[in-house]
Amino acid sequence: MNKLLLIIKREFIAKVRNKSFIVMTFLSPLLFVAIGVFVGYLSTMKADLKTIAIHDETGRFVHEFKSDKEYKYVDLSQVDLKILKDSIVKESYEGLLIIPKVADNTKLQKGIQYVSNDSPSVGFIDDLQDIIAKKITTENFQNAGLDTLKINNAKADVSINLAKASGEEALKGLNEIKIIIGGAFGYLIMMFIILYGNMVMRSVIEEKTSRIIEVIISSVKPFQLMMGKIIGTSLAGILQFLIWALLGLSAMFVLSTMFGVHMGATGGVQGQAMQAAQHVDGNEIQMYIKELWNLPIATILISFIIYFIGGYFLYSSFYASIGAAVDNETDSQQFLLPIIMPLILGVYIGFFTVMNDPHGTVATVFSMIPLTSPIVMMMRIPFGVPLWQIILSMVLLFGTFFGVVWFAAKIYRVGILMYGKKPTWKELIKWLKY
């Protein structure tokens, strides 16, 4: 036990002192911020104003098109169609909307054409169609002698209120928030496993190539060394995450104080409008906040820690045995793929299946399978999972971990003393019998 502590300490210090660790710890938050700022800047950049020529032979629609920041509509109904089409080719205009002179609205519906060099965005075409359809509908109503005003008044806007059987009110859009919370935790677990699993593997390979391994294992059991490595590296990783969390929190604090002042200064004019808007939505926002607090926060955090440890230990024992089996990192690729696959599968299942049907068969099964359970179950938990399922999946996870670590230790024990040849899967299985 004492030796295990020594190994953990050494591994931890070796990782933390490493230059790349220090650089990663303090540079990557900066990088994140930089990327965020860059994306934000890009999205605030104004899109080029696009001019759309409208050739409306009926003259009934052209005034329905209102220019905005993105699109400017020009009425060119008097200009010859041929000249217009040429100007499109010459790119004087972005596009040309042709509404032919057809008296029959039913025929007109199919006769409208949009000409352009580039393929237009789907949203833009939808907008155009909406405008024309609306106009035609109104005309149809009028032709049929219906009162448009009455029809508009008669239109119902139904919004179904969601409620749980327990009687509490639920909110739409909450599922999205839940999947974001669960997804963030699941994704974090995956990232951590890949980052630090790789670190464990590299550290094993380093001991192998520097040939110190035989000296070490004449003093300690290979199993102790492997576990010491895994734990020491994970502590370094947790420290890194803590630093990131701390940096993130302080950055948020700084930003919020800065923005608080900012908002107060400009609040005068817009304030009233905003207050009015808030008055309407206030109830709803409060409910969202209430609903967020109603999420099983304790369960989420405790499960996160347990799945985090279980998942990381399970995968890093794979990583450690792969490191032991190969002589250098390039040889490790063939063994790494089958390890990363279930992780990615977990994330996909989380985002696609859990979101649609958090308690469906697929989601439930994959939240039990130990290789995917840390990710999938983390994503399910915000939706409320029965306790027995969580416990069962944790038991399975840790049970598998102990099984895997036993195999991994065997491969590790044999592998660390093997040099020179690139092992195959078959050989790894043979090593289990040594």
Binding site: V215, I216, S219, V220
Partner: protein, 327 residues
């Protein structure tokens, strides 16, 4: 006072011997298989306390497998290891010092930290380790290296550190696999002297090597392993007696070569040989057969002036090559 201590030590050694604990290590019928390949086939060895024991054998004979089993890096399939009278147990790693053939250190770790770490893994407390390190760094005159990283040291310097790490915890049994490979002659000599010094202080040493001259120079016991089997074991002098051929190298100044050759060929088997000499004499290698050295000497003396008369003792190298090629 000193003589009393000496006396007590003598008694202690005596009683130990009486209890059958004169062997630091006994290997009993150890078998190790890797898949279908047998690396060790019922190998038994006895390493007496205080000896320098040479473990010889060609590449792939099973030496390293055996050494790894003694160091509990791998487990034997069957057979047992007795260390200092007791069955080998996990805690015994702290009384064994092992320098593997493939050696290395953490390249980016500082010398001092690294030595402390490895010594602590062997069970020393930090203070003890520090104390011992100071002693060894002084002794090998490498005090200035404490804060250097291994990657800043030359290969020979790193080897010195490796040796220090091996002996830091004052092991009862020192196992050295090819200890002199990678050392320049000066450092090899230095390390050799340190090994001999440790041996004088009571450390038993097993070393496995291909360098026969160092075996000849240092070892008092040897064992030869070939193709997973032990072929020879014993005191170096006993083994040599066993392999003596009764060949004598003779140098003689004579006027009557033909007469001498006639006389000799009546009783002995002759062959040509060469050795360094200042005389321009006739050099012969003569096998005594069943005769005694004196009979040969008498025959020689009657025919001329004897300038050289030496029994040709088989070198470890000869024994090694002979045994290995026989099998």
């Amino acid at each position: 006072m000193f003589s009393l201590t000496f006396f007590l030590v003598q008694i202690a050694i005596f009683t130990q011997t009486k209890n059958g604990m004169s062997n630091i290590l006994e290997v009993n019928k150890v078998v190790k298989q890797y898949g279908d390949y047998t690396a060790l086939n019922e190998v038994s060895l006895t390493v007496p306390k205080g000896s320098i024991y040479g473990l010889l054998g060609p590449n792939g004979a099973g030496k390293t497998s055996l050494i790894r089993i003694i160091n509990q890096i791998t487990m034997p399939d069957s057979g047992e290891i007795i260390l200092d009278g007791e069955k080998l147990k996990p805690e015994d790693v702290s009384v064994i010092g092992y320098m593997p053939e493939e050696r290395g250190l953490y390249k980016t770790m500082r010398v001092g930290e690294q030595c402390l770490y490895l010594a602590q893994l062997k069970g020393l407390s930090k203070a003890e380790a520090k104390h011992e390190l100071d002693y060894w760094f002084d002794r090998l005159e490498i005090q200035g290296w404490w804060n250097k990283k291994i990657q800043e040291l030359s290969k020979g310097m790193a080897q010195k550190i490796q040796f220090v790490v091996t002996v830091l915890h004052k092991p009862k049994l020192l196992i050295l696999d090819e200890p002199f490979s990678g050392f320049d002659p000066v450092n090899a000599n230095l390390i050799k002297d340190e090994i001999i010094e440790l041996n004088k202080q009571g450390t038993s040493v097993i070393f496995s090597t291909h360098r026969m001259e160092s075996v000849e120079e240092m070892c008092d016991h040897i064992a030869l392993i070939h193709k997973s089997n032990k072929l020879i074991e014993g005191k170096l002098t006993d083994v040599k007696k066993q392999y003596r051929t009764n060949d004598y190298e003779v140098g003689i100044l004579t006027n009557n070569v033909e007469g001498l050759m006639y006389d000799l060929s009546q009783k002995f088997t002759l062959s040509q040989t060469d050795f360094k000499s200042l005389n321009d004499e006739l050099k012969l290698q003569i096998n005594l057969g069943t005769a005694t050295p004196n009979e040969l000497l008498n025959t020689l003396v009657q025919r001329g002036q004897v300038t050289h008369f030496v029994e040709k003792i088989p070198s470890v190298n000869d024994i090694f090559i002979q045994t290995v090629s026989e099998k």
